[in-house]
């Protein structure tokens, strides 16, 4: 993990980029989301409230189809809640914005832009001067260990590399919040573990708020300060667990009693929900 060890130093070299401390307070205030209306109305998310502290790493865990992406989309600003609202740093969310970076599951890099162009896209559309773009590009390419792929196109990179670029692209825009929707869901198990470790290192260097959607219990426990479990569709929060495992985390912790205990707790709640979801689908 040579490429992330000295991350803190490198970030310091583009001064001011660590000032996200204190920002990134997310309040989900009675948000409910319904698609369609009348008889075709589909309740994707039932009234949900969450308070996410600046710098917190929160995982949203739940069976597929329960509304995790929809809830995250309301924080990102892609979906307007049918009722309630999302407030980030005291500003109500009205649409997508650069202070809320987004990482998708896959295929979200601009295929016609080189890796470097992808990474500096945010600062570039914000009209940053060329010299600054150079510095940002170099720093973030190095951060994710892809400096030699600067001039490559996304399709020339493996899935894991593409996802690192996705993270770098979001962070290069210095957001106060990083929203991630099953970002490692399409990766093989080995790559996924590596990605989780580098994400934690990046997160601790940035001190940024992360909301991370996953359906993988181990992933949630390994990453999170706090796990929010959602019920089967229509989704609502059924549990909010603190993860007290010490940091920095390592994959060996997966065999500790504390980890096992948490895993049991999560599975217990999810099993009930999955059964419910399964019953609904087979009706």
């Amino acid at each position: 993990m040579e490429h992330v060890v000295s991350l803190t130093d490198r970030l310091a070299s583009i001064g001011g980029r660590r000032s996200s401390a204190g920002r990134g307070h997310i309040r989900v205030d009675g948000v409910a989301i319904t698609f369609g209306s009348g008889r075709k109305a589909h309740h994707a998310v039932m009234e949900t409230s969450l308070d996410i502290k600046p710098g917190e790493f929160v995982c949203i865990l739940g069976p597929s189809g329960c509304g995790k992406s929809t809830l995250l989309s309301s924080i990102a600003g892609y979906v307007r809640p049918s009722s309630g609202e999302v407030i980030v740093d005291n500003v109500p969310v009205r649409g997508p914005g650069p202070e809320r970076g987004m990482v998708f599951q896959q295929y979200s890099l601009f295929p016609w832009k080189t890796i470097r162009e992808n990474i500096v896209f945010g600062p570039k559309v914000a009209g940053r001067p060329k010299a600054e773009l150079e510095a940002i590009g170099a720093t973030f390419l190095e951060m994710v260990g892809l400096a030699k792929f600067a001039q490559s196109y996304p399709a020339e990179l493996s899935g894991g590399m593409q996802q690192r670029v996705g993270i770098a692209r979001a962070l290069a825009n210095s957001p106060s919040v990083l929203l991630m929707d099953e970002p490692f869901g399409a990766l093989d198990a080995q790559t996924r573990l590596m990605m989780q470790e580098s994400l934690l290192e990046i997160w601790s260097a940035f001190g940024i708020t992360v909301v991370f959607v996953t359906h993988d219990v181990d992933e949630a426990i390994f990453l999170a300060d706090r796990i929010v479990i959602m019920s089967a569709s229509p989704g609502s929060v059924i549990a909010d667990l603190k993860v007290t495992l010490p940091r920095p985390r390592s994959q060996d912790m997966a065999t500790t009693d504390a980890f096992m205990e948490l895993k049991r707790a999560c599975h217990e709640r999810i099993r009930a929900e999955s059964l419910k979801a399964f019953a609904q689908q087979s009706q």
């Binding site: 993990m1 040579e2 490429h3 990102a76 600003g77 892609y78 649409g95 997508p96 914005g97 650069p98 809320r100 970076g101 987004m102 998708f104 896959q106 295929y107 979200s108 601009f110 295929p111 016609w112 832009k113 896209f121 945010g122 559309v125 914000a126 994710v144 260990g145 892809l146 400096a147 030699k148 792929f149 490559s152 196109y153 996304p154 399709a155 020339e156 990179l157 493996s158 899935g159 894991g160 590399m161 690192r164 692209r169 979001a170 825009n173 399409a186 990766l187 093989d188 080995q190 790559t191 590596m194 990605m195 580098s198």
Partner: protein, 326 residues
């Protein structure tokens, strides 16, 4: 590390394979995966896509790709030449023997006569005036169609209102052949020149509008979302996301439109003007100069092919990312 092989990117176009040296600087998290060797299937795709030379990426694969490319090229060249020779031979046999079995070849000049007529015209300055006039008409009609077609296609692809408003016009006017427009075009436009350019414009317009619309519609929503979350304005999204995403489709529309504008042009030139390659062909028929008819036809075909190739060539640098896809 096989994840790269499993997750093929949706935009992968005709592939030229590139190999990154999997060496020192590769981070440990995801070592560069083994790259597929240029296989027979890739070669066929490359050939079908017009046999464009491989991009920079392939240069790095070294000799293998180059050899493969030449092999693929040579195959097409050899088979194509044999096919042409057979066709010419058949033409020769049918026309020399004045075969008249349902289809009548007795008035079809044999290849040698056509070639003679072609050489004669090649030394005739007036012939070049015909070509020049036609090319200028195509340029005017096609360029106007490109600008209006891309704008209209984008509008229709992005806005439900725009699509609903213009769809009836496109649907009704698209099947109307260029010749059918001739009377109205003559009545509407002040000069013959303008009516010919108008007919050329109409021919190119529809393929461009329809392909642009489809390309724009197929822009992955996730890319638009990503751009919005990175702070891009609607105009920046148009230039950085929608236009590049639709470009392969737009280029197809332009190439098809270029072909259609040539045969619309011919229709227009038959009725008016005293110059143009279409006029030349039609005039040869009036003068019962059969070899010149075929010269006119073949030159039209060559100009059409050439200008279509030019359209694709112009788009080439902007589609580099597609060729570099694995």
């Amino acid at each position: 590390m096989q994840d790269a092989l499993k997750h093929k990117v949706a935009y992968a176009g005709p592939a030229s394979v590139s190999v990154e040296p999997a060496s020192a600087a590769t981070p440990p998290a995801a070592p560069s995966p083994p790259r597929a060797h240029p296989g027979a299937r890739e070669e066929t795709r490359e050939t079908r896509a017009g046999g464009r030379p491989p991009g920079i990426g392939a240069a790095r694969t070294g000799l293998n790709a180059v050899t493969a490319w030449f092999q693929a090229k040579a195959y097409g060249l050899v088979v194509g030449t044999i096919g042409l020779a057979l066709g010419l031979g058949l033409w020769q046999v049918l026309s020399v023997n004045k075969v008249n079995a349902f289809i009548n070849f007795s008035n079809v000049p044999r290849p040698g006569l056509v070639f003679e007529a072609f050489v004669k015209q090649a030394f005739n300055p007036v012939f070049y005036v015909h070509i020049e006039v036609s090319v200028l008409r195509i340029a005017a009609g096609f360029l106007t169609a490109a600008v209006i077609g891309i704008a209209l296609g984008t509008l229709m692809g992005r806005s439900k209102f725009g699509a609903a408003l213009f769809a009836p016009y496109i649907e009704i006017m698209r099947p109307i052949p260029a010749v059918a427009w001739i009377p109205l075009a003559i009545l509407m436009w002040p000069t013959d020149e303008a009516s010919i350019a108008f007919i050329t414009f109409l021919g190119a317009l529809f393929p461009i509008v329809i392909n642009t619309m489809q390309g724009v519609e197929q822009t992955p929503a996730v890319l638009v979302r990503a751009a919005k979350s990175l702070g891009a304005s609607p105009l920046q999204i148009f230039w950085n996301v929608i236009l590049p995403a639709a470009l392969p489709s737009i280029v197809t529309g332009l190439a098809v439109g270029m072909g259609v504008s040539w045969f619309s042009l011919l229709a227009g030139e038959i009725i008016s003007g005293q110059y143009g390659i279409g006029y030349f062909t039609w005039n040869a028929y009036s003068l019962v100069d059969y070899p010149d008819i075929i010269v006119g036809m073949l030159v039209t075909g060559a100009l059409g092919t050439l200008s279509t190739a030019l359209v694709r060539l112009a788009a080439h640098p902007f589609l580099k990312w597609q060729r570099r896809a694995r």
